[in-house]
Amino acid sequence: MRFRKSKEPQKHKHATDHRSQHEHEQVPVTQTQVTPGLQDRIEETAKLLGGSTDLGIRTFRLGPAGELLIGVLFLDGLVDQARVQDVQETLSLQAEKEGFAKQALKEQAVIEWAQNAITVGDVKRATDLQAAAQSLVSGETVILFDGCQELLSVTTSAPEHRAVSEPVTQTVIRGPQEAFTETLRVNTSLVRRKIKDPNLWMETKQIGKVTKTDVAIMYINGLVKESVLQELHARMDRIQIDGILESGYIEELIREQRYAVFPTVNNTERPDVVAAALLEGRVAVFIDGTPFVLLMPTVFIQFFQAAEDYYHLSDFGVLRLLRLTSFFLALLAPSLYIAITTFHQEMLPTSLLISLAAQREGIPFPAFAEALMMEITFELLREAGIRMPRAVGTAISIVGALVLGQAAVQAGLVSPAMVIIVSITAINSFVFPNYAISIATRVLRFPLMLLAATFGIFGIIVGMLALLFHLTSIRSFGVPYLTPFSPFVWGDQKDALVRWPREVRVGQKGGKAE
């Protein structure tokens, strides 16, 4: 156990007496002479942190005659050094100016005096060293007073955070180009700046036994459905977990269906999307340490509604239909190809059949194996593209293009039509405004391919029916996942498949869409 060296060389001489004794007892060295009471408590606090080397400790005397000995503890890197300095300076200036009467050194009085003297940040009183340790890890500065049970913790935190930058995963051409950062407070302020209404309320919880991650629940009072809010609180309170490192932890723990492939909680890194969701009466959950904010309740069609649908005016959001088509293509293109070419050749026009058959001449694998091989290769490429170091990016794309395309075809391992199918699938799986749904199609594509390879279109129908049953059965915070289609809500159709012009949407009962 080692303490950080004090930075006060003028107090050096006082330390000598105790040092030998401490060393003898295997107790770390301090170069400041402190009364045993204070020293013990500092050591105890340090012990609570396991003697972590980033703990900064300073002890010094206050007052014209050095009447009061105090210890200042903080975690280096978590605190703003200037503010810690400020605290120390304020205290010592005040003490210098006022001096200490004998009376003033009494326990209560010292604490109250210090509390008043400190002008920086939020000052809390505590007696428990455990609490002091907790304050330290939250970026607060702890001040211990000699002969005093109570202690002060001052918020001096200045965590490292990056500036607000452009969205990386959910980009738009027209629209706000800012994205959330890893800092909770920055994120909430980004939304507050968009919705300047006192009804924008926020509640904060700490989740995670160890990480004690700050989680903020934001909603607009009056628009939000009480039952959703209550349910959310209940579910969050039930969470028993050591650590929350990303919004995904919370998402997994608060959704209804543990095994659902489809996301029932939306996530976004865009403040404008959060603002829009809040205005629709949804709840946003901010998690400290991640730029992704959770939105709930969430329904299926939301994953096809891009922020830009509302920013570009000329297409009336018709692109959503395209995205829905893409959803089915991303899900079914390989299965349909397998089913039709191995079971239902009569469905194809003769000339197309001949052309496809000619391409398959000499291919050694059945269509299913061919498709599986290519799909897996593509998934590998996608995975490699995410994981690999940036510097080798071009290598992957060149090899990928060659493997997936030309070489495989020229070697006669794969038919050109299959390459087209795989490419179509790949392109289609990237059109969704939210990556979450793309993962769902990726997961479901393979079982569907298997069904197609064993039962043909019949199998696909069975698979899709099962999927439909599943989709109708799942709920997000009590809201059926297929709203507004099942149950059918007429008023919400204006902003479901297609975004109707604003005049049509507004002025109608229930114009607020899903």
């Binding site: 050749q345 009569e346 059949l353 058959a357 000619a358 269509a367 039962f455 019949f458 199998g459 069975v462």
Partner: protein
């Protein structure tokens, strides 16, 4: 979770059982059959079963190197006593299982058709793999196998050539009729209608047409051509209608989409008319308890070509041309009816069905002896032709030349 899993498992097992006739085949395990031909030597009891299989590798657009030297289709022949047996026996010749869903043509030889098509067609409508939407044709003066062996120009697959050529000629020329298998069957079992099938023949040197060299010649040594309509009585071919009579048949059967036909000019020469629309209405009328067939044709046409000196600017001329045209169509129709009634005594027009619709009780009485009644049923034809346009030109050069001469004379 366990329950769901079991449920899914049960569902999949059930799926396995309730799939109907299905079969998993890779595309490159298929031999796609384009056409089937059936021959029979007179007096023989075995059929000759010819199958035209598409050679996929050669047909494909990438073609190139590997395809050289191979024909785009292969025709296998097999002697057999039944169609199904022949089909299966062909696996001894063909490297792959024959795939029949994409068959486009069924070609029956004249001999087979004369002996009766009844025993042949059963397989094609019974087997699940056939789609009954292929066309059935009859050869004329040639063997079905030989038709399938001819190299065809432009279209690489002869079956496709036969298919599209039949469709095109039915659409734009009229004296052919594209009959699908289901239509053949319907008229086979109907008492009041007899089947017809378009005839096909090879014109030119058949043997030369079977050689690949035929493709390299600018003028092919042999063509496969459609010619007239074969008339059946029951399931037996009894004779042929010539081109004009075939057109007459199609007028009655409301099969004319567009055709071209000459009509007489007021003086001499002809105007060629392009029929653009034609609809027929066949009705049965009873006079003194005797049926009479009334055929009403409404036709529209454009002047397509003028081969005589006629003033088309004059509405009266147009009217006259219309009357002439009506006469002409009427003639064609009557000739077809005449031939069917008196030469072949086969009700290919379905007059019996018309009478049936008109008076079911009467039909019940006579349906047994309809074949005897049919030749004596009076047929009245009424044609209404209207000429709509004269093309991008009004008068022909002949007329303009005459007018110019007359003008010059006047000025003198």
């Amino acid at each position: 979770m366990k329950r769901t899993f079991l449920l899914v498992l049960t569902m999949l097992l059930v799926v396995l059982m309730i799939t109907g006739c299905w079969n998993r085949r890779e595309l490159n395990e298929l031999s796609i059959v384009g056409a089937i031909g059936i021959d029979k030597e007179p007096g023989a009891d075995q059929y000759m079963f010819s199958v035209q299989v598409i050679n996929q590798g050669v047909i494909s657009s990438k073609g190139g190197g590997e395809g050289i030297g191979q024909a785009s289709v292969t025709t296998f022949e097999m002697e057999t006593s039944s169609m199904f047996e022949g089909m299966r026996r062909l696996t001894t010749v063909s490297p792959r299982k024959l795939y029949l869903a994409h068959m486009r043509m069924l070609i029956l030889s004249e001999e087979v058709a004369k002996e009766g098509v009844g025993p042949i067609l059963d397989l094609f409508s019974r087997d699940h793999e056939y789609r009954p939407d292929f066309y059935v044709i009859v050869t004329k003066d040639t063997k079905a196998g030989d038709v399938l062996k001819q190299f065809t120009q432009i279209e690489k697959v002869p079956a496709n050539k036969l298919f599209s050529s039949l469709e095109m000629s039915e659409k734009h020329w009229a004296p052919t009729v594209a009959v699908r298998l289901d239509e053949v069957e319907a008229s086979l079992v109907s008492l009041g209608k007899q089947p017809v099938l378009t005839g096909v023949m090879v014109r030119g040197d058949e043997r030369a047409g079977e050689s690949e060299k035929a493709l390299q010649r600018l003028e092919p040594p042999a063509y496969v051509v459609y010619t007239g309509i074969g008339v059946f009585r029951g399931d037996k071919l009894v004779g042929w209608l010539n081109e004009e009579e075939s057109k007459g048949y199609n007028y009655i059967a409301d099969n004319v989409k567009s055709t071209v036909g000459p009509l007489a000019c007021p003086q001499k020469g002809e105007v060629i008319l392009e029929m653009i629309r034609s609809s027929s209405n066949v009705q049965a009328k009873f006079q003194n308890g005797k049926p009479q067939i009334q055929i009403k044709i409404k036709a529209e046409g454009n002047v397509g070509e003028v081969l005589c000196d006629v003033d088309l600017q004059d509405p009266k001329t147009i009217e006259k041309l219309e009357r002439n045209g009506e006469q002409r169509i009427k003639q064609i129709i009557q000739r077809a009816v005449d031939k069917a009634q008196h030469q072949y005594r086969s009700d290919i027009f379905g007059f019996g069905e018309v009478i049936h619709r008109e008076d079911a009780k009467y039909w019940k009485k006579i349906q047994g002896e309809w074949d005897e009644v049919f030749p004596h049923v009076p047929v009245v034809v009424d044609v209404d032709l209207q000429i709509r346009r004269t093309g991008t030109k009004v008068n022909s050069y002949l007329t303009e030349m005459r007018k110019a001469r007359e003008k010059a004379k006047e000025q003198k």
